[in-house]
Amino acid sequence: MSDSVLVIGGGIAGIQAALDLAEAGARVVLVEREATIGGIMAVLDKNFPTLDCSICIEAPKMSEVDLHPNIEILSLAEVDSLEGEPGDFRVTIRQRARYVTSACTRCGECTHACPVVLPNEYDSGMAARKAIYTPIPQSTPGAYLIDIEHCLSKPPNYLPCTHCLQACLPKAIDFNMPEETRHVRHVGAVIVAVGYDMFDPRLIPQYGYGKHADVLTALEFERLVNSAGPTGGEIICPSDGRHPQNILFVLCVGSRDRRFYHYCSRFCCMYSIKHAYQALDHGVPQVDVLYMDVRAYGKGFDGFWQRTTAEGARFIRGHPAFIQPNAQGSLRVVYEDTQRAMRLSADYDLVVLANAVTPARGLNTLAQRLGIALDADGFILAQEAQGGLVMTTRPGIYAAGCSSGPKDIPDSVSEGSGAAALALSHLKARHWPQAVEVPSLNGVENPRVGVFVCHCGSNIAGVVDVAQVAEYARTLPDVVFASHQMFSCAGNTQKEIEEAIKREGITRVVVAACSPKTHESIFRGVLARAGLNPYLLEMANIRNMDSWVHKHEKEEATEKAKDMVWMAVEKARLLTPLQASHLPLKQSTLVVGGGIAGMTAAVALASQGFVTHLVERSTQLGGLLSRLEQIAPSGIRASQLLEAKVRQVKKSRVRLHLGTSVETISGVVGNYHVQLSDGSHLEVGAIVMATGALPHQPVVFRYGEDPSVITNLDLEACLAEENLSGERVTLVGCVGSRQGKMGCSRYCCTSMIHQALQLRNMGKKVRVLSKDVRTYSRGAEELYAQAMRAGVQFFRYDPHLPPQEAITYVSPYESGASRNGGGYVQFYETSLGREVRLPTDVLVLVVGLQPQEDPMVEQLKLSRSEDGFLMELHPKLGPVQTAVEGVYLAGACQGAKDVRESMAQALAAAGKAGALLSRGVIEKEPLTARLIPELCKGCMRCVRVCPFSAIEQVGEPGKGGSVIIHEAACMGCGTCAAECNFDAIEMPYFTKPQIMAQIDAALAHEPEKKCLVFTCNWCSYAGADLAGIEKRQYPPSARIIRTMCSARFEEDFVARAFEKGAGAVLITGCRLTDTGSDCHYNYANRLTWKRFQHWQRKFERQGISPERLQLRWISAAEGKEFAEKIAEMDEVVHTFASQLTEPGR
């Protein structure tokens, strides 16, 4: 039995699967064909509908994968063969050489030296790269590689070019690596997450792609708006570089097209809406979108569409026939505005094609090697009746993400977790990384600081006088040793540091080199090997934030490096050893709700071996599924699926509590206490909410009074009995959805069409009235086409009105029925522009889904989204988690869903819960908040601001120490510490004294000429790092202090800075917009924003002009924006300093 899982594909689905598996103690072999993991998400600029910065939220996951001891990444690798059976597969993998060893310090000198210029794939070929290059700044694993096919030294290299070899001082380039390495691994299960490719629009020659430079694909546009892209985020016409005055976005290019791909590519509508929004945001005056149906099916999607329309984007229902250059050199597009029935010939500066999603190239070969079947479109064939879209045709092999059909990020993430949950059932052994036991050094309480200044070849030493910096360091308090080294991170140099620690009795280490984001873990390892607690390290980032960005101001850069080293030394003096904590956890779970999601989650958890309780209010399992006859679009019999699931529930020894509800629930992750109405008391470590949704109960169209008006659920019962009187059936979509705060209910279009087809096959005359036809899911568009061919008639009613206002129904039971005595439906048909009357005997109201009321939600402090459904931790990357650790969401309680989506999400929730429970303890990085009870006054402010409900009130308000911080639930953002007026909460590694000491050191000399910059760990620090990687020059006046989250910044920090005479203070953090937040701590940066408003007012009253205290959100992709902002702040500082020196002031 193997303890490993092979994950093929390192996009977001594969990353998620790998992380969940590794967390659950599985070993993971992650095979990626490209040089870096990250997939297409790493290329994207922003994510819809929240406009999260894509790389900002993905990069932390990428480095998590990189650093996880259980995960082996094989990049540039492909699976060659697979044999064996579940639990015991033998897989061979071919890996191409990188030609760059781990000695690489990411300095980038090689790239400058390389003479070969090639198009950069990650910028869709719109920018250049060299033959030795890094695909993206966040490249994982390893930064640089050689594209040997284009390298002038490609063996046999009779006349080798040695430019890079000469430039690389750490000798990290090795042309003697074997071109290809074969690896053999034994794995218990396989997850295929190979993602997708995109349709080549050249195959539609009428659209001019490839002929005219200003016709772009969506991915090219994505790079164009990305500030790390080829134009630095400026939208230009590639033909001549001018700013476009208008842009046209064209949907369904190659999708929903019988000539190419007949299916719906699912997420193009939404990213095109996002693109339209971004184009307007970039100041493009006119933005048009040509669509056929806007498939805004997800949570908040319709709202985003409306907002984009409100911003001024025009959505025109139509599809172009031609896109051709006009006499002026821009593009003439011919289409029909179908709502106005006008053929238009309009000129655009830029046209962006939303080209179809296609199976990943090579999937065919891979499927053959793995022995799994593909469907007719070339995606992985799913065994839907068994496991949603995650189960392939071969046991032990699972699919996740777009490998089984187009899917957006949260759906891919869900499937990644779900596939991990299933893969785990094939493993026997689990492993968790054990800390290396090294005898600890004595005397740690005395700070004896060692400073190591890195040359990074000439990267630092070429600008900064490193010897002078080391010399200077020796003069600092408690510094007992200082040296400078060629490459601090090189293997032998690491040894040097280790020896120096032991020899000199160093107890605090400062490494002045590059970014802690890439190298902190390496130096922590050095400390650990030397017997020093790894948290006694502080890095000064004198490369990315100094030498790289001030290369022409050598003296100032050296001065800045000294300051930075001093700041680091001051912090280091105050560092204390920290230990990861291991908190107890009950290895049992509670699943609330016995519908398809609850049953699926419970079975998956029980088969992972956890005691699983399934609580269902009613006396039967099945939930809404038991009211269905068939499941659309697959046509699977609901009863079959239900019976199969119930059998699995019984077989897997899930503890069933039928006719039971949860009375009270309390506790935190790992230890929840649950009282059930059947009298039993449960202690569980995790909870899966699968409470489902309620079908909307219509009160319109005289439903309930008029016997000819039924709902689609009523119809389902009729279809089961094949008993429906009335020949002419009209189905009306969107009853109770897509109005007010309610979004699209996702399941209904497909289900409605499935019913319509069944009715048609019974010989009825069937009409469907809808707003848009949203058959986005796999097989649904095909069902739509089938229903049309069979003669089901489709109509569109006014999408801006609820159905009861847009449609008049005269029942056959009413007087005033039509001339032939029957009933009819009358409405304004948008594709004809006329009132239409349809004879109708039966009116079917297709109802949406609504959130359930549940007292548990309040007890668990779960949040609800605007539409009332339970809120997920993050709309993109945390679709099944909640802000409350240990509570997961499955199925329709999180938002309306169809059966297979519910199953996928339930598996994901089970995967997540399983990963938490499997180890039996909760291991926490020692960065969580610590309460100092004697200082606490019991004001409860921390309880109110904690984004994770990790602080609990346990005593009377106003009484000291009446709160406790649940370490297990704390994520370490520090929001509480900043909120506490009494310094009663301490944030280890980012304590107030440490930060104050850094401030003091930064501002000791000429404070008026300096700008103090506070950054968060995730986005704004990464943005500053990126400015360095991109060598964006800015003035050397900034001094940067990093904490985990911007919500850690206290008023006292700002006060101290100004007290010391700082020229200016800049607050930065992850982006916060009207639409969402990139914050890694559940919107904690909203508090930063609130506090900042307050500070600005307050300090202004104290005579600090507002420009001296500013806030700027910086995403991890915004190196340019960071540099620009610092330049702006420099002017503020400059003005301030010159005012000070003016006489009379």
């Binding site: 929903r256 097209d257 289409y335 053929r343 009358q826």
Partner: protein, 392 residues
């Protein structure tokens, strides 16, 4: 009119569904058809193909004058993402119009001419072979002849198109092909009835024609007009009629002859030539290759392409029954085609369909495009014919 409520006509809808074999139902109203329709290039109020299909989807036949604009060029269907056979829908709508007597003036006369004269041109049947009086063409005999040369009504009666038939006769003789004609017994293929939407009469005509071919033992025929060829190869089989002979378009046959080395051309001066893809040869039948290969086989021919060619080629405006309807000056597609050919640098505009030839030559004259000669491929090839030693 527009505030009137449209009542769904269930019976008509079901009939449309059946007449179009479901084609009408598949449209999801994206409007590519309307955008693609060449009428949009020449008229303020273009032909809204989409609206016509929508009406068909509702069973609303309705007298719509624009219905008769359609030239059946199939540019719409070529770009349709749903693959709807729009010509089929148009014909079904036109059939309803015949039934409701909502037909454009002049069209009933075309059908009556087919009835009385066996041709749509209102010419006496006795004059069918007048063009070949001097050619001494043998009556087709299956025992003797390789192929039947099927002249078709337009080449039989139209003075300009007759030249094409004559040229083809010379080419076939030049290649030493043994062929015959049916003479006055030659039946009309009925394509004009088909594209005018009189599907029932078309069926009658098709059956009659098939009977004549059967009586004469025809096993292989060469059609001059792509419209006739389309009828034989596609429209007849669609009626479930058994077509017992092989039908080729003459350009395909010439291509075969060239490939077999039976037809050779001598060098003339170098000329830039462009080719007008006839809709029924190209878009409707997918034959873009053969005519170009024949042109390339003629020494001195520098084949240049117009920007819109192949599947994108602009229709001449003569199909779909438009030959029998008046198209006002300024609304003729062929008027647009002449400058397109000139823009491509062509001195000669070659086509392979009598309708194209008539329309384009007309437009070239109107445009006084003295530098551009419009000519049929058969004529062009004939000019370069290497006279066989045994020729008359």
């Amino acid at each position: 009119m527009s505030d009137q409520i449209l009542e769904l006509d269930e019976a008509t809808w079901e009939r449309m569904l059946q007449l179009t074999h479901g084609a009408v139902a598949e449209c999801f109203q994206c409007g590519v058809c309307t955008a693609a329709c060449p009428w949009g290039e020449v008229r303020q109020e273009p032909l809204s193909v989409r609206t016509l299909i929508r009406r068909a989807q509702l069973g609303i036949g309705h007298d719509n004058h624009t219905l008769w604009l359609c030239t059946s060029c199939a540019q719409c269907a070529a770009y349709c993402p749903r693959g709807v056979d729009i010509n089929q829908v148009m014909r079904a709508l036109r059939l309803l119009a015949w039934e409701r007597r909502q037909v454009e003036k002049g069209l009933p006369a075309v059908l009556w001419s087919l009835y009385w004269n066996d041709n749509p041109w209102q010419q006496p049947p006795s004059q069918r072979m007048a063009w070949a009086n001097d050619l001494n063409l043998p009556k087709f005999d299956p025992q003797v002849h390789e192929v039947l040369l099927y002249i078709g009504c337009t080449s039989s009666y139209d003075r300009r198109a007759q030249q094409v038939a004559r040229a083809l006769v010379r080419l076939l003789r030049g290649a030493g092909v043994s062929f015959g004609v049916l003479g006055e017994a030659e039946p009309c293929c009925g394509e004009s009835a088909l594209s005018l939407g009189h599907l029932y009469y078309f069926r009658d005509l098709a059956r009659e024609a098939l009977q004549v071919f059967a009586e004469h033992g025809v096993h292989k025929l060469i059609a001059i007009s792509p419209h006739c060829w389309y009828a034989f190869t596609q429209a007849y089989p669609a009626l479930d009629e058994k077509v017992a002979f092989e039908a080729m378009h003459y350009t395909q046959y010439l291509h075969e002859l060239v490939q077999a080395g039976r037809l050779a051309f001598r060098a003339g001066g170098t000329r830039s030539v462009t080719f007008q893809d006839p809709c029924y040869l190209g878009r409707l039948s997918g034959e873009y290759h053969a005519p170009r290969q024949v042109l390339k086989a003629i020494p001195g021919t520098n084949l240049v392409e117009m920007e819109a060619h192949g599947v994108d080629a602009l229709c001449c405006g003569g199909g779909g029954g438009r030959m029998w309807l008046e198209t006002p000056a300024g609304e003729r597609f062929s008027d647009l085609r002449i400058p397109q050919a000139q823009h491509a640098g062509a001195e000669v505009l070659v086509t392979a369909c009598p309708f194209c030839l008539i329309c384009l030559e007309d437009s070239a004259k109107t445009a006084r495009a003295a530098t551009l000669k419009v000519i049929d491929l058969a004529e062009y090839a004939c000019l370069a014919l290497e006279e066989a030693p045994s020729s008359e």
